[in-house]
Protein backbone atom coordinates (compact mmCIF):
# COMPACT_ATOMS: atom_id res chain seq x y z
CA UNK A 1 0.00 0.00 0.00
CA UNK A 2 1.42 3.24 -1.07
CA UNK A 3 -1.49 5.58 -0.57
CA UNK A 4 -3.97 5.89 2.26
CA UNK A 5 -7.39 7.13 1.16
CA UNK A 6 -10.43 8.38 3.00
CA UNK A 7 -11.94 4.92 2.46
CA UNK A 8 -9.09 3.46 4.49
CA UNK A 9 -9.73 5.89 7.30
CA UNK A 10 -13.45 5.26 7.19
CA UNK A 11 -12.83 1.57 7.50
CA UNK A 12 -10.44 2.27 10.39
CA UNK A 13 -13.12 4.21 12.24
CA UNK A 14 -15.71 1.50 11.56
CA UNK A 15 -13.39 -1.19 12.83
CA UNK A 16 -12.43 0.94 15.83
CA UNK A 17 -16.09 1.38 16.74
CA UNK A 18 -16.72 -2.33 16.30
CA UNK A 19 -13.72 -3.37 18.39
CA UNK A 20 -14.56 -0.93 21.17
CA UNK A 21 -18.15 -2.17 21.22
CA UNK A 22 -16.92 -5.76 21.44
CA UNK A 23 -14.47 -4.94 24.23
CA UNK A 24 -16.79 -2.60 26.10
CA UNK A 25 -17.21 -4.98 29.04
CA UNK A 26 -13.52 -5.80 29.21
CA UNK A 27 -12.63 -2.12 29.28
CA UNK A 28 -15.16 -1.50 32.04
CA UNK A 29 -13.71 -4.41 33.96
CA UNK A 30 -10.14 -3.12 33.57
CA UNK A 31 -11.29 0.31 34.73
CA UNK A 32 -12.79 -1.15 37.92
CA UNK A 33 -9.80 -2.07 40.12
CA UNK A 34 -7.85 1.09 39.25
CA UNK A 35 -10.54 3.42 37.96
CA UNK A 36 -14.23 4.11 37.98
CA UNK A 37 -15.63 1.45 35.69
CA UNK A 38 -16.62 3.69 32.82
CA UNK A 39 -13.88 3.52 30.20
CA UNK A 40 -15.69 0.96 28.01
CA UNK A 41 -18.98 2.81 28.24
CA UNK A 42 -17.30 6.13 27.50
CA UNK A 43 -15.51 4.99 24.36
CA UNK A 44 -18.44 2.95 23.12
CA UNK A 45 -20.64 6.02 23.39
CA UNK A 46 -18.01 8.09 21.58
CA UNK A 47 -17.13 5.78 18.72
CA UNK A 48 -20.79 4.95 18.13
CA UNK A 49 -21.36 8.67 17.79
CA UNK A 50 -18.46 8.94 15.34
CA UNK A 51 -19.94 6.13 13.30
CA UNK A 52 -23.39 7.71 13.36
CA UNK A 53 -21.91 10.99 12.24
CA UNK A 54 -20.07 9.33 9.37
CA UNK A 55 -23.14 7.41 8.26
CA UNK A 56 -25.25 10.55 8.31
CA UNK A 57 -22.74 12.32 6.11
CA UNK A 58 -22.04 9.31 3.91
CA UNK A 59 -22.66 11.10 0.61
CA UNK A 60 -20.15 13.87 1.20
CA UNK A 61 -17.49 11.60 2.62
CA UNK A 62 -15.68 10.61 -0.59
CA UNK A 63 -15.05 14.28 -1.30
CA UNK A 64 -13.68 15.01 2.13
CA UNK A 65 -9.98 15.30 2.73
CA UNK A 66 -8.27 13.03 5.26
CA UNK A 67 -7.72 15.87 7.68
CA UNK A 68 -11.40 16.80 7.82
CA UNK A 69 -12.35 13.20 8.37
CA UNK A 70 -10.00 12.76 11.31
CA UNK A 71 -10.93 16.11 12.80
CA UNK A 72 -14.63 15.25 12.58
CA UNK A 73 -13.90 12.05 14.46
CA UNK A 74 -11.88 13.99 17.02
CA UNK A 75 -14.43 16.71 17.70
CA UNK A 76 -17.17 14.11 17.90
CA UNK A 77 -15.18 12.21 20.49
CA UNK A 78 -14.61 15.41 22.47
CA UNK A 79 -18.33 16.19 22.30
CA UNK A 80 -19.59 12.78 23.34
CA UNK A 81 -17.06 10.88 25.45
CA UNK A 82 -16.28 13.14 28.40
CA UNK A 83 -14.03 11.87 31.16
CA UNK A 84 -10.28 11.77 30.54
CA UNK A 85 -10.40 9.71 27.41
CA UNK A 86 -12.71 12.09 25.54
CA UNK A 87 -10.35 15.06 25.40
CA UNK A 88 -7.35 12.78 25.01
CA UNK A 89 -8.53 10.66 22.10
CA UNK A 90 -10.30 13.70 20.71
CA UNK A 91 -7.04 15.62 20.71
CA UNK A 92 -5.29 12.66 19.14
CA UNK A 93 -7.60 12.66 16.13
CA UNK A 94 -7.74 16.44 15.81
CA UNK A 95 -3.95 16.80 15.86
CA UNK A 96 -3.51 13.95 13.43
CA UNK A 97 -6.12 15.59 11.22
CA UNK A 98 -4.27 18.87 11.31
CA UNK A 99 -1.25 17.18 9.75
CA UNK A 100 -3.33 15.72 6.93
CA UNK A 101 -5.43 18.82 6.37
CA UNK A 102 -6.34 19.27 2.70
CA UNK A 103 -4.91 15.91 1.63
CA UNK A 104 -7.08 13.44 -0.29
CA UNK A 105 -4.42 10.74 0.00
CA UNK A 106 -1.45 10.24 2.26
CA UNK A 107 1.69 8.18 2.06
CA UNK A 108 2.42 5.72 4.90
CA UNK A 109 5.03 8.02 6.34
CA UNK A 110 2.66 10.99 6.15
CA UNK A 111 0.12 8.93 8.07
CA UNK A 112 2.78 7.93 10.60
CA UNK A 113 3.69 11.58 11.00
CA UNK A 114 0.05 12.44 11.63
CA UNK A 115 -0.22 9.71 14.25
CA UNK A 116 2.94 10.95 15.90
CA UNK A 117 1.43 14.42 16.10
CA UNK A 118 -1.66 12.84 17.64
CA UNK A 119 0.37 11.16 20.35
CA UNK A 120 2.20 14.37 21.07
CA UNK A 121 -1.20 16.00 21.39
CA UNK A 122 -2.22 13.46 24.02
CA UNK A 123 1.00 14.01 25.95
CA UNK A 124 0.50 17.76 25.87
CA UNK A 125 -3.19 17.68 26.77
CA UNK A 126 -2.64 15.12 29.53
CA UNK A 127 0.70 16.55 30.66
CA UNK A 128 1.94 12.98 30.69
CA UNK A 129 4.99 11.02 29.59
CA UNK A 130 5.55 7.38 28.75
CA UNK A 131 5.88 5.23 31.88
CA UNK A 132 3.01 6.85 33.75
CA UNK A 133 0.61 3.93 33.08
CA UNK A 134 -1.62 5.48 30.45
CA UNK A 135 -2.65 5.07 26.83
CA UNK A 136 0.64 6.76 25.96
CA UNK A 137 2.46 3.56 26.88
CA UNK A 138 0.72 1.83 23.99
CA UNK A 139 0.66 4.65 21.49
CA UNK A 140 4.16 6.08 21.87
CA UNK A 141 6.04 2.85 21.09
CA UNK A 142 3.55 2.09 18.35
CA UNK A 143 4.30 5.34 16.56
CA UNK A 144 8.02 5.14 17.26
CA UNK A 145 8.39 1.66 15.78
CA UNK A 146 6.15 2.50 12.85
CA UNK A 147 8.20 5.55 11.97
CA UNK A 148 11.46 3.69 12.49
CA UNK A 149 10.34 0.90 10.16
CA UNK A 150 9.20 3.27 7.46
CA UNK A 151 12.37 5.30 7.65
CA UNK A 152 14.27 2.07 6.99
CA UNK A 153 12.04 1.60 3.90
CA UNK A 154 10.31 -1.39 5.39
CA UNK A 155 7.07 -2.46 3.68
CA UNK A 156 4.15 -0.68 5.30
CA UNK A 157 2.38 -3.86 6.33
CA UNK A 158 5.57 -5.15 7.93
CA UNK A 159 6.30 -1.89 9.72
CA UNK A 160 2.72 -1.82 10.94
CA UNK A 161 2.99 -5.40 12.14
CA UNK A 162 6.09 -4.58 14.16
CA UNK A 163 4.46 -1.46 15.55
CA UNK A 164 1.48 -3.52 16.66
CA UNK A 165 3.82 -5.85 18.54
CA UNK A 166 5.41 -2.84 20.21
CA UNK A 167 1.97 -1.52 21.07
CA UNK A 168 1.03 -4.81 22.67
CA UNK A 169 4.24 -4.86 24.66
CA UNK A 170 3.58 -1.28 25.67
CA UNK A 171 0.11 -2.17 26.83
CA UNK A 172 1.43 -5.09 28.88
CA UNK A 173 4.21 -2.93 30.27
CA UNK A 174 1.57 -0.93 32.15
CA UNK A 175 0.83 -3.92 34.38
CA UNK A 176 3.85 -3.61 36.68
CA UNK A 177 3.81 0.20 36.54
CA UNK A 178 2.69 2.44 39.37
CA UNK A 179 0.37 5.04 37.91
CA UNK A 180 1.33 8.66 38.30
CA UNK A 181 -1.35 10.12 36.04
CA UNK A 182 -5.12 9.73 35.86
CA UNK A 183 -7.44 8.14 38.32
CA UNK A 184 -5.23 5.11 38.91
CA UNK A 185 -2.58 7.35 40.45
CA UNK A 186 -4.83 7.89 43.50
CA UNK A 187 -4.20 4.28 44.41
CA UNK A 188 -0.46 4.73 44.78
CA UNK A 189 1.23 1.35 44.98
CA UNK A 190 -2.08 -0.42 44.73
CA UNK A 191 -2.20 0.53 41.06
CA UNK A 192 0.61 -1.94 40.42
CA UNK A 193 -0.41 -5.26 38.91
CA UNK A 194 -3.28 -4.04 36.75
CA UNK A 195 -3.26 -3.33 33.03
CA UNK A 196 -4.29 0.21 32.21
CA UNK A 197 -7.71 0.46 30.52
CA UNK A 198 -6.64 3.34 28.28
CA UNK A 199 -3.51 1.50 27.18
CA UNK A 200 -5.79 -1.40 26.32
CA UNK A 201 -8.30 0.62 24.31
CA UNK A 202 -5.37 2.17 22.44
CA UNK A 203 -4.20 -1.30 21.51
CA UNK A 204 -7.62 -2.09 20.06
CA UNK A 205 -7.49 1.13 18.09
CA UNK A 206 -4.16 0.30 16.47
CA UNK A 207 -5.44 -3.19 15.72
CA UNK A 208 -8.38 -1.55 13.95
CA UNK A 209 -5.94 0.57 11.99
CA UNK A 210 -4.05 -2.50 10.89
CA UNK A 211 -7.25 -4.22 9.82
CA UNK A 212 -8.28 -1.19 7.81
CA UNK A 213 -4.99 -0.80 6.03
CA UNK A 214 -3.55 -4.25 5.68
CA UNK A 215 -6.67 -5.97 4.42
CA UNK A 216 -6.72 -3.45 1.60
CA UNK A 217 -3.22 -4.44 0.67
CA UNK A 218 -4.25 -8.04 0.34
CA UNK A 219 -7.45 -7.21 -1.51
Amino acid sequence: MNQITSNNLLRFLERAAARIAEQREELILLDSPIGDADHGANLDRGFSAVLAKLLAAQDQLPEQDLGTLLKTAGTTLVSTVGGSSGPLYGTFFIRAGNVLAGKMVASPSELAQALAAGVEGIMARGRAMPGEKTMIDTLAPFVAILQAGLSEDMAFSLALGRAIIAAEQGMRSTIPMQATKGRASYLGERSIGHQDPGATSSYYLVLALQEALVERVEA
Binding site: I28, L29, S32, P33, I34, G35, D36, A37, D38, G40, A41, N42, R45, V78, S79, T80, V81, G82, G83, S84, S85, G86, P87, L88, R125, G126, A179, T180, K181, G182, R183, S185, Y186, L187, G188, R190
Partner: protein, 332 residues
Protein backbone atom coordinates in the same frame (compact mmCIF):
# COMPACT_ATOMS: atom_id res chain seq x y z
CA UNK B 1 -27.20 -4.91 40.81
CA UNK B 2 -30.75 -3.71 41.44
CA UNK B 3 -31.65 -0.14 40.65
CA UNK B 4 -34.77 1.90 40.14
CA UNK B 5 -33.93 2.67 36.53
CA UNK B 6 -35.37 2.01 33.10
CA UNK B 7 -32.11 1.16 31.38
CA UNK B 8 -28.44 1.76 32.20
CA UNK B 9 -28.11 4.03 29.20
CA UNK B 10 -31.09 6.19 30.23
CA UNK B 11 -30.27 6.95 33.84
CA UNK B 12 -29.00 10.50 33.51
CA UNK B 13 -31.60 11.52 30.97
CA UNK B 14 -34.55 10.07 32.91
CA UNK B 15 -33.36 11.69 36.12
CA UNK B 16 -33.10 15.04 34.35
CA UNK B 17 -36.69 14.67 33.19
CA UNK B 18 -37.72 14.13 36.79
CA UNK B 19 -35.57 17.01 37.92
CA UNK B 20 -37.19 19.32 35.37
CA UNK B 21 -40.66 18.23 36.42
CA UNK B 22 -39.85 18.75 40.08
CA UNK B 23 -38.15 22.13 39.97
CA UNK B 24 -40.10 24.68 38.02
CA UNK B 25 -37.71 27.48 39.00
CA UNK B 26 -34.91 25.74 37.14
CA UNK B 27 -34.44 25.25 33.45
CA UNK B 28 -33.29 21.84 32.28
CA UNK B 29 -31.89 21.42 28.83
CA UNK B 30 -31.01 18.13 27.17
CA UNK B 31 -28.32 17.56 24.58
CA UNK B 32 -26.11 19.25 25.46
CA UNK B 33 -27.41 18.71 28.97
CA UNK B 34 -27.32 21.40 31.60
CA UNK B 35 -29.43 22.74 34.46
CA UNK B 36 -29.69 26.50 34.90
CA UNK B 37 -31.69 29.04 36.82
CA UNK B 38 -34.86 29.81 34.89
CA UNK B 39 -34.12 33.53 35.25
CA UNK B 40 -30.72 33.83 33.69
CA UNK B 41 -28.38 35.40 32.87
CA UNK B 42 -28.55 37.65 35.91
CA UNK B 43 -27.15 40.92 34.57
CA UNK B 44 -24.06 42.19 36.33
CA UNK B 45 -23.67 39.01 38.36
CA UNK B 46 -20.78 36.61 37.90
CA UNK B 47 -22.18 33.28 36.69
CA UNK B 48 -21.05 30.21 38.64
CA UNK B 49 -20.92 27.12 36.49
CA UNK B 50 -20.00 23.71 37.72
CA UNK B 51 -20.43 20.18 36.53
CA UNK B 52 -19.02 16.73 36.72
CA UNK B 53 -20.00 13.12 36.30
CA UNK B 54 -23.46 12.11 37.45
CA UNK B 55 -23.95 9.78 40.40
CA UNK B 56 -22.95 12.40 43.00
CA UNK B 57 -26.44 13.82 43.52
CA UNK B 58 -27.51 16.28 44.78
CA UNK B 59 -24.17 17.67 43.49
CA UNK B 60 -24.18 19.68 41.20
CA UNK B 61 -27.64 20.22 39.74
CA UNK B 62 -29.19 20.23 43.22
CA UNK B 63 -27.13 23.32 44.03
CA UNK B 64 -28.36 25.48 41.16
CA UNK B 65 -30.41 28.41 42.36
CA UNK B 66 -30.33 31.69 44.20
CA UNK B 67 -27.16 32.12 46.22
CA UNK B 68 -25.30 29.20 44.73
CA UNK B 69 -24.74 27.99 41.16
CA UNK B 70 -26.11 29.51 37.97
CA UNK B 71 -25.70 26.31 35.99
CA UNK B 72 -24.55 22.73 36.36
CA UNK B 73 -23.51 20.27 33.67
CA UNK B 74 -24.15 16.59 34.42
CA UNK B 75 -21.95 14.08 32.63
CA UNK B 76 -22.56 10.38 32.26
CA UNK B 77 -22.29 8.42 35.50
CA UNK B 78 -18.84 9.18 36.99
CA UNK B 79 -17.74 10.72 33.70
CA UNK B 80 -16.88 14.36 33.28
CA UNK B 81 -19.30 16.29 31.07
CA UNK B 82 -18.16 17.29 27.61
CA UNK B 83 -17.08 20.83 26.67
CA UNK B 84 -20.24 21.38 24.59
CA UNK B 85 -22.27 21.25 27.78
CA UNK B 86 -20.21 23.87 29.59
CA UNK B 87 -20.19 26.05 26.51
CA UNK B 88 -23.98 25.86 26.16
CA UNK B 89 -24.39 26.55 29.88
CA UNK B 90 -22.05 29.51 29.64
CA UNK B 91 -24.00 30.97 26.73
CA UNK B 92 -27.19 30.47 28.75
CA UNK B 93 -26.16 32.04 32.06
CA UNK B 94 -23.07 34.22 31.66
CA UNK B 95 -23.46 37.97 31.49
CA UNK B 96 -20.77 40.59 30.91
CA UNK B 97 -19.63 39.98 34.47
CA UNK B 98 -18.11 36.72 33.29
CA UNK B 99 -18.27 33.14 34.44
CA UNK B 100 -16.42 31.18 37.10
CA UNK B 101 -15.97 27.51 36.32
CA UNK B 102 -15.89 25.40 39.47
CA UNK B 103 -13.99 22.22 38.69
CA UNK B 104 -13.16 19.24 40.83
CA UNK B 105 -9.61 18.14 40.26
CA UNK B 106 -9.90 15.03 38.11
CA UNK B 107 -7.98 14.71 34.87
CA UNK B 108 -11.15 14.42 32.84
CA UNK B 109 -12.97 17.30 34.49
CA UNK B 110 -9.97 19.58 34.23
CA UNK B 111 -9.41 18.86 30.54
CA UNK B 112 -13.06 19.15 29.55
CA UNK B 113 -13.49 22.42 31.41
CA UNK B 114 -10.23 23.67 29.89
CA UNK B 115 -11.55 22.93 26.42
CA UNK B 116 -14.84 24.58 27.29
CA UNK B 117 -13.09 27.70 28.56
CA UNK B 118 -11.13 27.95 25.32
CA UNK B 119 -14.33 27.67 23.31
CA UNK B 120 -16.22 30.14 25.50
CA UNK B 121 -13.41 32.65 25.37
CA UNK B 122 -13.32 32.29 21.62
CA UNK B 123 -16.99 33.29 21.68
CA UNK B 124 -16.17 36.38 23.72
CA UNK B 125 -16.98 35.24 27.25
CA UNK B 126 -14.70 36.01 30.16
CA UNK B 127 -14.01 32.82 32.08
CA UNK B 128 -12.04 32.13 35.22
CA UNK B 129 -11.60 28.69 36.70
CA UNK B 130 -11.06 27.32 40.18
CA UNK B 131 -9.90 23.74 40.57
CA UNK B 132 -10.81 22.17 43.91
CA UNK B 133 -8.36 19.68 45.40
CA UNK B 134 -9.19 19.08 49.05
CA UNK B 135 -8.71 15.34 49.40
CA UNK B 136 -5.81 14.62 51.74
CA UNK B 137 -5.95 10.91 50.94
CA UNK B 138 -4.04 11.55 47.74
CA UNK B 139 -0.35 12.26 47.66
CA UNK B 140 0.84 15.38 45.94
CA UNK B 141 0.91 15.88 42.21
CA UNK B 142 4.52 14.77 41.76
CA UNK B 143 3.28 11.23 42.12
CA UNK B 144 -0.37 11.54 41.17
CA UNK B 145 -2.91 13.47 39.13
CA UNK B 146 -3.06 15.68 42.19
CA UNK B 147 -5.50 15.72 45.06
CA UNK B 148 -9.11 15.12 44.18
CA UNK B 149 -11.90 17.60 44.61
CA UNK B 150 -14.43 16.12 47.03
CA UNK B 151 -16.55 17.42 49.92
CA UNK B 152 -15.19 20.95 49.90
CA UNK B 153 -16.92 21.45 46.55
CA UNK B 154 -20.29 21.81 48.27
CA UNK B 155 -19.01 24.41 50.71
CA UNK B 156 -17.15 26.31 48.01
CA UNK B 157 -20.18 26.46 45.73
CA UNK B 158 -22.27 27.83 48.59
CA UNK B 159 -19.76 30.39 49.77
CA UNK B 160 -18.70 31.68 46.38
CA UNK B 161 -22.33 31.56 45.28
CA UNK B 162 -23.20 33.99 48.05
CA UNK B 163 -20.31 36.23 47.06
CA UNK B 164 -21.45 36.31 43.44
CA UNK B 165 -25.01 36.98 44.54
CA UNK B 166 -23.83 39.95 46.58
CA UNK B 167 -22.19 41.46 43.51
CA UNK B 168 -18.55 40.41 43.85
CA UNK B 169 -16.72 40.62 40.53
CA UNK B 170 -15.09 37.69 38.77
CA UNK B 171 -11.66 38.21 40.23
CA UNK B 172 -13.07 38.54 43.75
CA UNK B 173 -15.13 35.41 43.30
CA UNK B 174 -12.07 33.56 42.07
CA UNK B 175 -10.01 34.80 45.02
CA UNK B 176 -12.63 33.74 47.54
CA UNK B 177 -12.87 30.37 45.82
CA UNK B 178 -9.10 29.96 46.05
CA UNK B 179 -9.21 30.94 49.71
CA UNK B 180 -11.88 28.35 50.42
CA UNK B 181 -9.86 25.77 48.54
CA UNK B 182 -6.72 26.68 50.44
CA UNK B 183 -8.44 26.35 53.81
CA UNK B 184 -10.45 23.18 53.33
CA UNK B 185 -9.44 19.53 53.62
CA UNK B 186 -11.34 16.25 53.30
CA UNK B 187 -10.99 12.52 53.77
CA UNK B 188 -13.42 9.68 53.16
CA UNK B 189 -14.09 6.08 54.08
CA UNK B 190 -16.19 3.44 52.35
CA UNK B 191 -17.97 0.47 53.86
CA UNK B 192 -19.00 -0.69 50.41
CA UNK B 193 -18.37 0.20 46.81
CA UNK B 194 -21.17 1.01 44.41
CA UNK B 195 -22.28 -0.38 41.08
CA UNK B 196 -22.42 1.94 38.10
CA UNK B 197 -25.41 1.15 35.91
CA UNK B 198 -23.17 0.54 32.93
CA UNK B 199 -20.89 -1.89 34.80
CA UNK B 200 -23.74 -3.63 36.60
CA UNK B 201 -21.56 -4.82 39.48
CA UNK B 202 -19.72 -3.13 42.35
CA UNK B 203 -16.51 -1.44 41.25
CA UNK B 204 -14.64 -3.27 43.99
CA UNK B 205 -15.46 -5.88 46.59
CA UNK B 206 -14.99 -5.45 50.30
CA UNK B 207 -15.00 -8.24 52.85
CA UNK B 208 -17.56 -8.47 55.59
CA UNK B 209 -15.23 -6.82 58.06
CA UNK B 210 -13.27 -4.53 55.77
CA UNK B 211 -13.35 -0.84 55.02
CA UNK B 212 -11.53 1.29 52.45
CA UNK B 213 -9.82 4.38 53.77
CA UNK B 214 -9.14 7.36 51.54
CA UNK B 215 -11.80 6.83 48.89
CA UNK B 216 -12.99 9.42 46.42
CA UNK B 217 -16.48 9.88 45.05
CA UNK B 218 -16.40 7.50 42.10
CA UNK B 219 -16.81 4.17 43.82
CA UNK B 220 -13.11 3.61 43.27
CA UNK B 221 -10.91 1.87 45.83
CA UNK B 222 -9.10 4.09 48.33
CA UNK B 223 -5.58 4.29 49.63
CA UNK B 224 -5.70 1.25 51.85
CA UNK B 225 -7.91 -1.42 53.23
CA UNK B 226 -8.41 -1.87 56.96
CA UNK B 227 -10.44 -3.89 59.38
CA UNK B 228 -13.79 -2.46 60.38
CA UNK B 229 -13.45 -0.34 63.51
CA UNK B 230 -15.82 1.40 65.90
CA UNK B 231 -17.05 4.80 64.75
CA UNK B 232 -14.75 6.57 67.19
CA UNK B 233 -11.67 4.96 65.63
CA UNK B 234 -12.81 5.56 62.07
CA UNK B 235 -13.42 9.19 62.95
CA UNK B 236 -9.81 9.44 64.14
CA UNK B 237 -8.56 7.84 60.94
CA UNK B 238 -10.36 10.49 58.92
CA UNK B 239 -9.78 13.50 61.15
CA UNK B 240 -6.09 13.08 61.86
CA UNK B 241 -4.72 13.45 58.32
CA UNK B 242 -7.09 16.37 57.74
CA UNK B 243 -5.98 18.17 60.88
CA UNK B 244 -2.30 17.53 60.24
CA UNK B 245 -2.40 18.64 56.64
CA UNK B 246 -3.52 22.25 56.73
CA UNK B 247 -2.60 22.18 59.67
CA UNK B 248 -5.66 23.12 61.71
CA UNK B 249 -4.78 24.66 65.04
CA UNK B 250 -6.22 25.31 68.46
CA UNK B 251 -8.40 28.37 68.29
CA UNK B 252 -9.49 27.78 64.70
CA UNK B 253 -13.13 28.22 63.88
CA UNK B 254 -14.22 25.61 61.37
CA UNK B 255 -17.14 24.52 59.31
CA UNK B 256 -17.45 20.77 59.89
CA UNK B 257 -19.13 18.81 57.13
CA UNK B 258 -20.00 15.15 57.62
CA UNK B 259 -21.06 13.87 54.24
CA UNK B 260 -22.75 10.58 53.50
CA UNK B 261 -21.63 8.67 50.41
CA UNK B 262 -25.22 7.76 49.49
CA UNK B 263 -25.93 4.43 51.16
CA UNK B 264 -25.26 5.24 54.79
CA UNK B 265 -28.22 6.14 56.99
CA UNK B 266 -28.36 9.58 58.55
CA UNK B 267 -28.26 8.11 62.05
CA UNK B 268 -24.71 6.91 61.38
CA UNK B 269 -23.66 10.30 60.06
CA UNK B 270 -24.79 11.85 63.34
CA UNK B 271 -22.73 9.29 65.24
CA UNK B 272 -19.71 10.26 63.16
CA UNK B 273 -20.45 13.92 63.77
CA UNK B 274 -20.49 13.26 67.52
CA UNK B 275 -17.06 11.66 67.23
CA UNK B 276 -15.69 14.47 65.08
CA UNK B 277 -16.95 17.07 67.52
CA UNK B 278 -15.23 15.23 70.36
CA UNK B 279 -11.93 15.09 68.46
CA UNK B 280 -12.02 18.76 67.53
CA UNK B 281 -12.94 19.78 71.05
CA UNK B 282 -9.89 17.88 72.25
CA UNK B 283 -7.75 19.98 69.91
CA UNK B 284 -9.26 23.28 70.93
CA UNK B 285 -10.93 23.73 67.55
CA UNK B 286 -14.42 25.20 67.51
CA UNK B 287 -17.11 24.05 65.13
CA UNK B 288 -18.76 27.33 64.21
CA UNK B 289 -20.97 25.88 61.48
CA UNK B 290 -21.85 22.38 60.38
CA UNK B 291 -23.48 20.42 57.61
CA UNK B 292 -24.55 16.79 57.93
CA UNK B 293 -26.11 14.70 55.21
CA UNK B 294 -25.77 13.23 51.73
CA UNK B 295 -24.56 16.14 49.61
CA UNK B 296 -21.79 14.71 47.42
CA UNK B 297 -22.29 11.03 46.93
CA UNK B 298 -21.04 8.01 45.02
CA UNK B 299 -24.33 6.38 44.03
CA UNK B 300 -25.25 3.91 46.78
CA UNK B 301 -21.77 3.62 48.31
CA UNK B 302 -21.87 3.19 52.09
CA UNK B 303 -19.48 5.40 53.98
CA UNK B 304 -18.83 9.00 54.74
CA UNK B 305 -16.35 11.79 54.44
CA UNK B 306 -15.24 14.57 56.72
CA UNK B 307 -14.51 18.03 55.40
CA UNK B 308 -13.12 20.77 57.58
CA UNK B 309 -12.98 24.35 56.38
CA UNK B 310 -11.15 26.97 58.44
CA UNK B 311 -13.50 29.93 58.49
CA UNK B 312 -12.82 33.62 58.52
CA UNK B 313 -15.51 36.21 59.12
CA UNK B 314 -16.24 36.74 55.46
CA UNK B 315 -16.59 33.04 54.72
CA UNK B 316 -18.90 32.62 57.71
CA UNK B 317 -21.04 35.49 56.58
CA UNK B 318 -21.23 34.13 53.05
CA UNK B 319 -22.12 30.68 54.40
CA UNK B 320 -24.96 32.18 56.41
CA UNK B 321 -26.34 34.18 53.47
CA UNK B 322 -29.65 33.03 52.00
CA UNK B 323 -29.61 30.15 49.55
CA UNK B 324 -32.46 28.56 47.64
CA UNK B 325 -31.62 25.43 45.72
CA UNK B 326 -33.25 21.99 45.62
CA UNK B 327 -30.69 20.55 48.05
CA UNK B 328 -29.56 23.46 50.22
CA UNK B 329 -31.94 26.09 51.37
CA UNK B 330 -32.18 28.64 54.09
CA UNK B 331 -32.94 32.29 54.63
CA UNK B 332 -35.67 32.43 52.00
Amino acid sequence: MKKLINHPSMVVQDALIGFAAAHADLRVQHDPAFVARAQSPVQGKVALISGGGSGHEPLHAGFVGYGMLDAACPGAIFTSPVPDQMLAATCAVASDAGALYIVKNYTGDVMNFELAAELAEAEGYTVATVVINDDVAVRDSLYTAGRRGVGLTVLLEKIVGAAAESGADLETCREIAERVNANGRSMGVALSSCATPQAGRPTFDLGDQEIEIGIGIHGEPGRRREALQPAATIAELLAEPILADLPFQAGDQVLAFVNGMGGTPLIELYIMYAELERILQGQGITIARNLIGNYITALEMAGCSFTLLRLDDQMTQLWDAPVQTPALRWGR
